[in-house]
Structures are given as C-alpha cells and as structure tokens.
C-alpha cells in the first residue's frame, strides 16, 4: 500500500479548531445553535458548542489549546433574552440557550472589526508564508470584507524589523494583530512566561524580553508559533519551502514522553513537524527537539551504503547489501565455530521500534543460539524493571501522564523534567500553578525548584548517592508519626513483609536526624516534606535516572514503591510511581524481551513453559541460562571469551561509562556490526556497517513512559534502501534462520500472540484508537491507563527492606568533589541527532558546572578551561560557576563525544542490574592552560585516522566504479 492509497493516518492540513478547550463536567446542558440542538458538558463555551453543531463562528484570539480571552470581538453572537452581542468564546452555555451566530447586525460588526485589523496589516498575501493557512486571511473572507474605508496611509506598524534570532522561526511584528495567543501559549501551554504584551493601546506589541527571542527566556518549544493566527511567528522551514500538502501522524523519536506529531509533508519531504492535538501523551504540545530538531534525518552525514572491513585499521569498503549480509553472517559463523556459540551477542536500542527490538532479540536467541542480548535500558532504567517487578509485580510505571491533572502533591526525585521531559514538565507546571504542592529531591537546584508561578515547598538538596537514605527517612517519619494509610496497607499489601519492613524503617538509624550526616539534608525539612506528602489526598512520585543510575539504583526504586504503598498512593488517577524514561522506547525495549534473562513480557528464560512457547513459534530450542548484560559483555570481551557483537542504534563507545574500558573491549572483538544512521563513535571500532533508517523512514511502534504504544509511520523511503527491520530479517536469513514478515504489523501480531499483556494489540486497533496503553487484552480491550486498580499485579504489594549503603566511590583528598552527570534541553543523549541540527546554537560543547566556593578555592573563573580527573581518567572542558550546584558537587553532560565525560565515570554499578553508577564519581578539578587533555588528544588522532580510512575506502570504490 502506498501512502496515497488511503493511509489510515493521513489527514489534510486543516485541523478543526474548537476555539476553547474541552470542559470536564458530569453535567450536560443543551443549547440551540441557529436552531440546531447540541448537548455539551456544563461550562463549555458557546463558541465550542457552535463548532460541535457544525458552525464555525469567526474568531481570531481564540484557539482550543488556550483559555478564552475575549479580545478580538470577532466571535460576537446574539442570544435570545440577552442584551447586546456577547463574545461566544467567553460565554458559557446555559441549558436551553438559543444562539444566533449570523445576522445582518453581526455581519456588520464583524466587518467593522476586520476593517480595523486590515487597515494596519501588510497586504502582501500572495507572497506571505502563511498564504493558504492564515486565519486573518480566512476571517477577512468569512466576514466578506471588501473595502477598508480608513486607507492605509495613517500611523501604522508596517515598518518594523523582523526578529530572526531563533534558528527555527521568525517573528515579524508587522504581521502581528496583538491577539495575545503567543503570550498565552507561552504561559498556559508551556509555562515559561517568556513573552509579554508591552505598551498599551496603539503602542501594544509582543515582546520576548528586552532584546530578542534568542536572548530571552524562550525555550523554543514552538507553542507560540503554533498558536499564532497569522505569519507573525512562522517556521523558517515554511518560509523557505511553502505550505505542506498532506500530513501523516507519527511519534517523536526523542524522549520517553513520546509526543504524537503530524509530519507535514510536501511529497516525501517533511516541511514541518506539528504536535498532534489528539496525541494522548502531549495534547498538542511539543519541545524544541521534537518540534524543530528533525533535520538530522536528511543530514549529509547519513550513512547510506553498507560497508565492511577485516580489521579496524583497514580502509572501509562500500558493498552491496547482499555482500554485507554474507560477510557479517560468515564472520558470526566463523567466530562461533572457533570460540563457541556464547562468544556472540547483540545490543538493541531504546531508539529503535518495538518491532526492531523484538526482531533483534529473536535473532540473538534463535539465530545466534544464545541469550546474550541486552538493551541500552541496561544503563538507564533497568533498576526500574527490577524494583517495580519485585514490589508491585510489573516492570512499568503505574499511571498515564493525564494523571498529573488530579494530583495534589508531587515528589520529583532524581529527574529534571524541564530539560529531560519538557512536555511532561509543562503539564506538571500547569498543575502546580493550579495549586498542587511540590517536593524536589535533587543535588542540584533544577529549574522546577523555582520557576515562574511555581515554587517547591521543599527542595531536599541531598548529596549524590544518598537517595535511599532520604527516602528511608521520609518513610520513617510517615510510619513513626502514624501518617501511613493503614486501611490501604491492610487490604492491598503482604502484611508479613510489611511487619518486617515497619520494624526496620522505624529504627532510629533510619530517622532523618540519624541519616543527616549522609544526606546533608536538614532533618526538619525531611520531616516537613514527609508530612506534606502523606497528608495529601493524592500524592504522586516522578523519578528519573538520578534514582536508577546508582550502586543502589534498584533499592532506590523500591523505596519509591514502598513510600507509594505506605501512603496509599497506587491504583487511581492522581497518584502512582512514575518513572520518566530517558529515550523514546525505553519501556518498549524492556517489554520486548531485550534483557538477557527475560523473554518478551518479562518472563524469565529459566521457565520451561515460556521457553517452549517461544521455541515452538520460532522453531528452535531457547537456552535456559541468562545471557551477558552489556557491562558483562565488555568484561567478557576483554577476557577473550566474547568476540562478536551486533549493535543496533546504540553508541556504546560514547554513552557507556569508563570509556577506556569500553574501547578496550571493542578493540578485542573480531566482528563488530554497527547499524546506525551515522558513523557514530562505536562505528570507529566496527567491521561491518549496516546503514540505519530514521523514524521517518519506517513503520513500527514506540512505547512511552506511560506504557502507551503509538504508531511510527513511514513518511519517506529509507535512505539506505532497507528499513531497519528488513535489515535484521535479511541478516537472519544469511545466517540460515528464516523470518517471514512482509510488514512490521506482522511482527506486532507475533508479539501479541506470545505476550499476555499485548494480546489485544494490533496495527488495526492502533489506527482506530490512536494509541494503546498495555496491558491490552481480553480483560482490558482498550488498554490500561493506570495499573494495580483493585489489586497489585503480583497479588499483594511487597514492602522490601531497603537498607541505605553508601556507594563504594568515596571522595578523598586527591578526589574531593563528586561529579554527577545529566542532560540539558536542547541536546539529546549522545547528541548524534541534535548535534546535527541547529540546536547546536544553544549548547555546542559540554560544560562543567561548579559552585562558586569550589571555584574560588581553585582559582577558577567562569568560562575557564578545567581538567577533571577521576580514578578512571581525565578530560578537559570549559566550566561555568553557578550556585545551582551545592559546594562539593560538580555536574556535566555527555552530549559531545570529544568532551569525554564518560572517560571519567567508573565501572561501579547497581547491585541488582549492573546499571552503571553515572551519578557519582569522585573527581578533582583544576584550571589548565590547554583546551584538550591526553585522552582527548588520542581521541582526535583516532578520529582522524578513522576518517581517513573511510575516505580512502570511498576513493578506491569510486575509482573501481569508474573503471
């Protein structure tokens, strides 16, 4: 089926705008719009009711993503029994109301309003980028404006400079009608409050701070551009390319929020990505990455041709797909014959679709004949899987994002949503502005602690590595002050485990006072926070990698589940345990059986019945022993027992800790197959390159942090000729293992056949419902927004003993500071995608943040180059001095390979899952004159060598080709 043949998710560009937001109410009212009755929830505006009745009342300042404002005076209507002509956007419907939307009087009034607008608006419609999609133009047409009696010569706003400072959109004040939609979008939708209306009356103008958009507080989320009814705020891609001709609904390939987008297209070229209003994760909102940073997909750096080489010191040779598959398969067979079946393995990625991940683990288990398959979720949320399965019975978050609308008190622990999960952060901030309270537990003063109209009630600024101590102390206060939900616990939890846990947590050593020396948090703050959370009717916990990436990561997750059960906060909207997943498909990658000990649906390989189920479907015997996890693969490679690795969509050489150990492991491999859209850092150690396809080039599904399965839809052909799922199928065939699929929907059908939580999932149902939250089966045919409603998946909730143990990574005189790593808004993970977009203008190098006190002690000033040394290695970066940090703690990101942030991090890991301890490394910082450390100089030399080998290979190929 081609796209043009009735693609189920293909829409025209016109999306119905209801003018005002949907209202929630148990009561309904019936109004008559031009005589037609329509039934709407109480509180609905007359404007919205009219649209429901099929009548578009002219409007300019209203749009359904924003509360009504009533400034443009275009949406006037007549209502029986009421005087004058009220604005339909600000007038709520009353039962029995008779509304007239069109009359001679109304037409005259509206024409008068439009006449005034147009008298001060450029008449360059034909060359305007909004031509064909301009609400002002549409309204002029709708009201029948034919003449402007005032002329155009008077005082006006037609000579003003464009603000082109933002790389993705322009601000042309000459086109502005000061409807305030942009200002309100920045406030209501995004919650940044970067825009304002400056001046009064004729002087009113939209302003982004004192200078321009780029230098303002603007975070480039695009909400203002989306809201603008004219071409005042306009995507530069539309200015350059023109309006789209069709749109396809798909899912963002960045973070775990999993926003739904409409890819707006001209032919097979994307001209704009617009957040999808009906997307259930994002409800029409977006961030700078998903909205604007998609240009990487067609970046000249894309690898389009398969390549092979025998040694990593050989030049690359571009080959056909057939030759690449044959060579890779022959190497796997040779290595298995020489070193045994267990000497090979594969790594899937949370950036890949469910279908691709499922196929890769199937290839390893059925084609390679072992269980050496892991996913990059290993290094981020594997403790979530372990911790929540142990306590609640299912390895997933308990809620949907909409749940936040019903929460009264939120704990954000080890997560920085405004940078890492911006669209969720906007929804959270909205709820906080409505009055919910906030407790932030983080070593840094993240933006949420204090942001416009939001202030945390408590910021527990703990020392890195002491999450478990803080959470234990919170639980201690709840229990010893009798604030626990006794009835809930008695009904829902295992009382024997609870009894043990209660005795443990009540011990004095778990009190905030006793733990203060480890946490650094004043005991009274912990007591206050515990009381606030326990007393809230609905308390919700949101957490991120600041919990999981610790030597006690799994214990940390279990402290969260303990506190949620203790306070009765699981099983309904507004509460719950909410892991904020890093990448787009972390949840999905875990669900799909890409952990070495589990088959899809979190079923252990030691279970004979499960092995038989999969073995029968796949026609093989599944190995009963768990395979190697990613860090174990590296150790086994260095040790000489692991020789071949197939890595899909993952850059382990940059993202994994203790870089020099990873490099040594990769150098030890005899066959490294890398499947990626770019020649990433790992590719420099590879023997085979399978060029990958971006999310725009293939069909599949992603599962976000809410367990929501959403479609990824192909909008352009794959640049290398094959989509990623086809590559795995063909590679398997070359290995002698046949996989029969003609479309990814058939892979999902197989997943559904084999996985009890997915039995009701199909592409047909996804097309019908838009998205589905698993479990989706006979018991829940349309999915499950929140889990553990009447009982926990494991039966009774299990309180687990969570003793605080300090990390083995200790500060000393030689390494007196603690480094903690994280991410920032404009870049994503290893930066492979965002570094190839204009997001670079916000963050073109990784920076070390340190406290003024630590800077002063070392004679360091803002902007200096500093060397950061740990027990594992050292690297050099620029620093900034900021009191966001606490004394003794420094922070950096790992978005740029040449920064070598992971050269410094250690091989310590979570006790249960081997998830690396990225968040705690003892370091020393000193000012240096050079801008590169020793490792960075080696990195540069190796990069140059590999670049040369690639060029040599291409040159030889083209010579041969010309002969």
């Amino acid at each position: 089926m081609t796209l043009q043949e009735g693609h189920p998710a293909m829409y025209s560009n016109k999306v119905v705008d209801f003018g005002t937001p949907v209202k929630r109410s148990d009561n309904t009212v019936t109004v008559h719009i031009d005589g037609k009755p329509v039934c709407v929830p109480e509180g609905t505006s007359v404007m919205r009711a009219a649209v429901e009745a099929g009548v578009q009342v002219p409007k300019l300042c209203a749009t359904d993503s924003l509360e009504s404002f009533g400034s443009c005076r275009l949406c006037l209507v007549e209502i029986d029994g009421r005087r004058g002509t009220p604005a339909s956007c600000t007038t709520p419907c009353d039962d029995g109301m008779q509304v007239t939307t069109q009359s001679k009087k109304l037409a005259k009034l509206r024409r008068g309003v439009m006449e005034l607008y147009i008298s001060d608006h450029p008449l360059d419609c034909l060359t305007c980028p909004a031509n064909g999609n301009c609400e002002l133009q549409d309204m002029a047409g709708a009201v029948g404006l034919r003449d402007v009696r005032y002329g155009y010569e008077g005082e006006n706003h037609l000579v003003q400079e464009k603000d082109e400072s933002n790389p993705y959109f322009t601000f042309d004040p000459t086109k502005c009608i000061v409807c305030s939609r942009c200002v309100r979008a920045c406030e209501e939708t995004q919650g940044t409050f970067a825009l304002t209306v400056e001046g009064r009356g004729f002087d009113s103008k939209i302003a982004a701070g004192p200078t321009n958009f780029f230098d303002s507080e603007c975070v480039s989320c695009g909400a203002c551009v989306q809201a603008c009814p004219t071409s005042t705020l306009m995507e530069k891609s539309i200015v350059d390319e023109g309006q789209p001709d069709h749109a396809v609904t798909t899912t963002c390939a960045y973070c775990g929020v999993g926003c739904s987008f409409r890819a707006e297209m001209q032919g097979s070229e994307v001209v704009r990505m617009v957040p999808h209003k009906d997307g259930k994760a994002n409800h029409g909102h977006s961030c700078v990455k998903g909205r604007f940073a998609w240009g990487y997909a067609t970046h000249p750096d894309r690898v389009k041709q398969p390549m092979i080489r025998k040694k990593i010191t050989d030049p690359w040779r571009e080959v056909s797909w057939e030759e690449a598959f044959e060579y890779a398969a022959s190497e796997i067979k040779r290595i298995q014959a020489k070193y045994g079946q267990a000497s090979t393995g594969g790594i899937t990625s949370s950036r890949c679709t469910n279908e691709e991940t499922f196929l890769l683990q199937k290839l390893v288990r059925a084609g390679f004949g072992n269980n050496n398959v892991d996913t990059c979720a290993r290094v981020c949320h594997s403790p979530t899987g372990y911790g929540l399965k142990t306590t609640l019975g299912e390895s997933a978050g308990t809620q949907d994002f909409d749940s936040v609308d019903f929460t009264d008190c939120v704990i954000v622990l080890g997560a920085n949503p405004t940078d890492g999960h911006p669209v969720f952060a906007s929804r959270l901030k909205k709820r906080l502005r409505e009055g919910a309270t906030l407790i932030v537990i983080d070593p840094r003063q993240i933006d949420l602690v204090r942001t416009p109209h939001v202030e945390a009630s408590f910021h527990l600024q703990l020392r890195p590595g002491s999450n478990v101590a803080v959470m234990n102390a919170l639980a201690h206060v709840v229990v010893t002050e009798g604030l626990e939900s006794k009835g809930y616990i008695a009904e829902r939890c295992d009382m024997e485990d609870y009894g043990k846990w209660k005795a443990f947590i009540s011990e004095e050593r778990n009190s905030p006072e006793a733990l203060e020396e480890h946490t650094g948090v004043p005991a009274d703050q912990i007591r206050g926070a515990a009381r606030l959370f326990a007393k809230a009717p609905n308390g919700a916990l949101y957490y991120g990698l600041g919990v999981t990436e610790h030597s006690q990561g799994s214990t940390g997750v279990m402290t969260i589940a303990n506190l949620a059960m203790l306070t009765g906060n699981i099983g309904r909207p507004g509460v719950g345990v909410n892991p904020l997943r890093g990448q787009n498909n972390v949840q999905g990658a875990c669900d799909m059986g890409s952990f070495p000990h589990e088959l899809p649906g979190y079923r252990h390989v030691s279970d004979p019945a499960v092995r038989e189920l999969f073995g029968k479907e796949w026609g093989v015997d599944i190995q009963p022993e768990p395979g190697l996890r990613i860090p174990n693969m590296f150790d086994a490679a260095v040790d000489g027992s692991f020789k071949a690795l197939y890595v899909q969509g993952e850059d382990i050489a940059q993202s994994d800790p203790d870089t020099q150990h990873v490099q040594k492991a990769l150098e030890s491999l005899e066959c490294l197959i890398v499947q990626d859209i770019f020649m990433n850092e790992t590719a420099k150690y590879a023997h085979v390159i399978f060029p990958g396809s971006s999310f725009l080039e293939k069909d599949g599904t992603f599962t976000n942090a809410e367990r929501r399965i959403s479609r990824v839809r192909k909008v352009m052909p794959p640049l290398p000729g094959l989509a990623d799922w086809e590559v795995t199928v063909r590679f398997a065939e070359a290995l002698g293992y046949r996989m029969n699929y003609s479309h990814p929907s058939e892979i999902m059908d197989e997943i559904a056949r084999l996985t009890p939580t997915f039995t009701g999932v199909s592409y047909t149902k996804l097309d019908k419902l838009g998205s589905i939250q698993w479990p989706c089966n006979e018991a829940a045919p349309e999915g499950t927004p929140y889990m553990h409603e009447n009982e926990f998946v494991r039966g009774k909730g299990k309180f687990v003993l969570t003793e605080f143990q300090a990390t083995p990574e200790r500060t000393t005189r030689k390494f007196p500071l603690i480094l903690t790593t994280g991410r920032i808004l404009s870049q994503y993970n290893v930066g492979a995608q965002t570094r190839r977009t204009q997001n670079q203008v916000w963050h073109d190098e990784d920076i070390i943040e340190l406290h003024p006190h630590d800077a002063e002690n070392r004679g360091i000033e803002h902007g200096d180059m500093v060397s950061m040394q740990s027990r594992k290695g050292d690297t050099t970066m620029r620093c900034i001095v900021t009191d966001r940090m606490q004394p003794g703690v420094v922070f950096t990101t790992f978005h740029h390979p040449e920064s070598g942030a992971n050269v410094v991090t250690t091989d310590n890991s979570d006790w249960a899952t081997n998830c690396p301890e990225y968040k705690v490394t003892a370091v020393q910082i000193r000012k240096v004159a050079s801008d590169k450390g020793e490792w960075q100089q080696r990195f540069d030399a190796f990069a140059q060598q590999q670049d040369l080998l690639a060029r040599q290979g291409f040159a030889e190929d083209s010579e041969q080709g010309s002969k």
């Binding site: 267990a342 030597s551 027992s641 003793e803 890991s909 006790w911």
Partner: protein
C-alpha cells in the same frame, strides 16, 4: 572474567539481602539473584574464586549461598 570484580558484585548483592532478619531467606535471596541474573561464565568464575580457597574476600552470605545452593549456581550442562 575478572574474579575481583565478580566478588565485588556478589558482595553487593549479599549486602542488600543482609538486612533480611530471616537468614534462610537472605541466603536463598542471594543465591537466587546470582542464579537468575548472572551468565554461566560469570557464575563459573565466581565458583572458581570460591573453590580456590584462601582469602577470596566473599561476603559471608555469598559463602553461605554457594555452600547451601551450589547446584543451582553451577552452569546448566546440556
């Protein structure tokens, strides 16, 4: 596989289960975790480090886990 690293990892697991007041549960928990999550060559190397005797540095719960649950920790032979 480097024995010292595996000993450290096993000891971390034992430290988690050490809080459990019911000793058989703690010992079984330690053994079960290693059995369920460690690939056979890791378990083999751990058992070798234990069998070599001397100062292997293993947490006493790991020692008890190996002693009492040895069969489950041995790699499955086809």
């Amino acid at each position: 596989m480097e024995a010292a690293k595996l000993v450290g990892m096993a000891n971390q697991i034992a430290s988690f289960f050490a809080t459990e007041p019911d000793r058989p549960i703690a010992v079984a928990g330690t053994a079960n975790h290693i059995q369920k999550f460690w690939e056979p060559r890791m378990r083999k190397a751990l058992l070798q480090a234990f069998d070599a005797g001397g100062d292997h540095g293993l947490h006493e719960l790991v020692v008890a886990a190996i002693t009492e649950h040895r069969a489950g920790l041995e790699p499955i032979t086809a």
